[in-house]
Amino acid sequence: MSAGLKLSDADERFRLRARAWLADNLAGEFADVVGTGGPGREHQAVRRRRQWERRLGASGWIGLGWPKRHGGQDASLLRQVVFHEEYARAGAPARLGHMSEQLVGPTLLTFGTAEQQARFLPGILRGEVLWCQGYSEPDAGSDLAGVRTSAVREGGHYVLSGQKIWTSLADIADWCFVLARTDPDQTRHRGLSYLLVPLDQPGIEIRPIRQITGTSEFNEVFFDGARTAVDNLVGAEGDGWRVAMGTLAFERGVATLGQQIGFERELNAIIATARATGAIDDPALHARIVDAWIGLRVMRYTALHTLSSAGTGPSGSEGSISKLQWANWHRNLGELAVDVTGAAGLVAGGASDELTEEQLLFLYTRADTIYGGTNEIQRNIVAERVLGMPR
């Protein structure tokens, strides 16, 4: 999979530096975190992975692409991709700081005041402060404009009431960025504000949601009189929709090629299983394996194509195409995974009597086509904004 990225000598040196650092650091003190976390296993080794975040931050690997004046490295898009690839290839643990670095950080860089930047960015860059996202609500689903959680100004604070859902990492995060309705007289996307809310306070209750995998990566967050200072408003009051949509746009970015390395590892494991069980000799399963292999290449070429046009092409639209592409591919991979195990897929595996990797993949990938914008929402976006079809 390494083919395709055309690297300068300097970029190649950067790759080697990243590779060496990861090898060194994952071999020693942090050997136990290798391969932990990730879809279906977000509950693994959380304390150790928090420590790992600090290690990453201390060595300057967080905020690679951020401007130097804000503590970043001003690294090119290509180098960010390279780092993601090396990170995935090294089997480094799933990032707990993903939302901190990729969502709230960029939002603050774009919309935050100088004070907010000075206050919040360093903690993110050091890997010390973890953030989670408070957008979805039970009755709104994919329709973010249906947000009902209210934030009422009382003196120097906003007081929040309502419920968020699908908040991953809320149980371990320090702060939450919340989309709340500050103007009750406005409807839909008007009258919303983007607030930074500390989680460790009375008035906030966090309940894990048990998923179809049996594990809990998502939470419900209940606000009942929770407070945050007015200084923690990002953008203008009532301008939260614009800020939040900006955040969403940050979500899909350079991680794609790194993500594909994880996909390749999963596919290789499935192929190995198929050889072991003899499933690879089943024509239908073999055809699906080959299709998966080809599909992974097509995703890689699509990402490289997008990357090669970065800066000149339209932005955002590829995000939805890429999301549909990988989410469907991954979901199909989940079905393939359990199918190659044959009848053994009927029962949990091994002595621990826990679901097998293949069963977890089958179940967990069902979320891929739902979270981060459902397939249905993505198709709307592609049809209307990429193809320009009428509403």
Partner: protein, 389 residues
């Protein structure tokens, strides 16, 4: 004549009322039975409690079913104190239990009693009498670690003794095998002949290990037989036929169950989409979702018809021998597809453990795998149809 019926113009009529899924073709008595079973389950079946208790099903519900519906006596001939009903009648129960994913040894018991009734031996009749009167549950212990569900490759051994038979071998993926009262077991005589045996689950010569199943609503067990005392139930005419009947009925029952579950899962989608509001209107009014539901409806209609046909043609020599295989493939595939769409169309809530969407998904995947994979069964169907390469 149907073709002379008047019809509303497409796209202009009011939506028709949603009614309970029924088999419009079935005799009135059977429809009555379906309603009785449905009422019974609506009142008494609690899937969540049943699937989480240690037994993996609700013993009280079983007992009640024995008393009120005669679930164990249904297919037992009247000569053995049973109700003497047909497999197609039993399929009504399988469908209604399946529609709600009720964890229960019902399916295996229905099939096992149908097979025992067909055996016609004194031993079988004697067991049937006990099943009917005592309300016993039966598990079908068919698959083996090496053979899977391929009857020709089964290797469990039955040895003849003065007192009867003893069994040796290992079986797996036995539904409710850890709790059933009796086990119906295909095994080979020392001459290599395939025969059907029944053992008591309490026999000291067998060990049952419950496995955590992907499908929470149907527990699976491994069973090791080490000289378990058994009764041979098939007649001298040929055990292979009995084993083929057992396999055919299990496949047909799984087809019936899958089709019924697919129908109720689809109904669940439609209900959710009709109620759930987003972007200021019911989700179900979005055309893209409607069209997907319509495609599912086509699939479910085909599955129901195939399950119906397989049930109707049970034991009818004129039918293709692999109708049960075909039916299981078509119906289990349909269920998995509907269930997958159910998770997707429910959005985040469909991904939670508390919502039932995943139970249908897991049942769908399990039913695809039980009694032979899609590819294995397709190969059998193709060969029987002369489509071999």
């Amino acid at each position: 004549m149907r073709q002379y019926d008047r019809n509303e113009p497409p796209g202009l009529s009011e939506p028709t009322e949603l009614s309970e899924p029924t088999e419009p073709s079935e005799p009135i008595e059977r429809r009555e039975m379906r309603r009785t079973v449905a009422d019974f389950l609506d009142r008494h079946a609690d899937i969540r409690t049943a699937m989480t208790n240690a037994d993996g099903y609700d013993r009280e519900l079983w007992r009640r079913g024995v008393d009120e519906l005669g679930v164990s006596a249904l297919l037992v001939p009247e000569r053995c104190g049973g109700l003497g009903m047909s497999f197609a009648d039993g399929a009504v129960l399988v469908a209604e239990f399946g529609r709600r994913l009720v964890p229960s040894p019902l399916l295996d018991t229905v099939v096992a009693t149908a097979v025992l009734a067909a055996c016609g031996t004194d031993e079988a009749d004697w067991l049937l009498t006990e099943i009917a009167t005592e309300g016993l549950s039966v598990a079908v212990a068919f698959a083996e670690p090496e053979a899977g569900w391929c009857a020709d490759s089964l290797a469990s051994r039955a040895a003849s003794h003065s007192a009867g038979w003893t069994l040796r071998g290992a079986k797996e993926y036995v539904a409710h095998g850890a709790t059933a009262d009796l086990l119906l077991v295909p095994a080979r005589t020392t001459e290599g002949e395939l025969r059907l045996y029944v053992t008591r689950a309490s026999d000291a010569g067998l060990r049952r290990t419950s496995r955590t199943a992907l499908d929470h609503t149907r527990t699976l067990a491994e069973i090791e037989f080490t000289d378990a005392v058994a009764v041979r139930v098939d007649g001298s005419a040929g055990g292979a036929d009995s084993v083929a009947l057992l396999s055919g009925l299990m496949l047909t029952a799984l087809a019936v169950e899958s089709a019924a579950a697919a129908r109720s899962c689809l109904s669940g989608i439609v209900t959710y989409l009709s109620v759930r509001q987003q972007f200021g209107r019911a989700l179900g009014s979005f055309q893209a979702l409607k069209h997907r539901c319509a495609d599912l409806a086509v699939r479910v209609a085909g599955a129901e018809a195939t399950a119906w046909y397989a049930t109707e043609s049970v034991g009818n020599g004129a039918q293709a021998a692999t109708t049960p295989e075909l039916a299981k493939v078509v119906c289990a595939d349909a269920l998995l597809r509907v269930a997958a769409e159910s998770v997707q169309l429910h959005g985040g809530i469909g991904f939670t453990f508390d919502h039932d969407a995943h139970l249908f998904l897991k049942r769908g995947k399990a039913n695809q795998l039980l009694f032979g994979s899609g590819q294995q069964l397709r190969t059998r169907v193709a060969e029987a149809a002369g489509l071999g390469t």
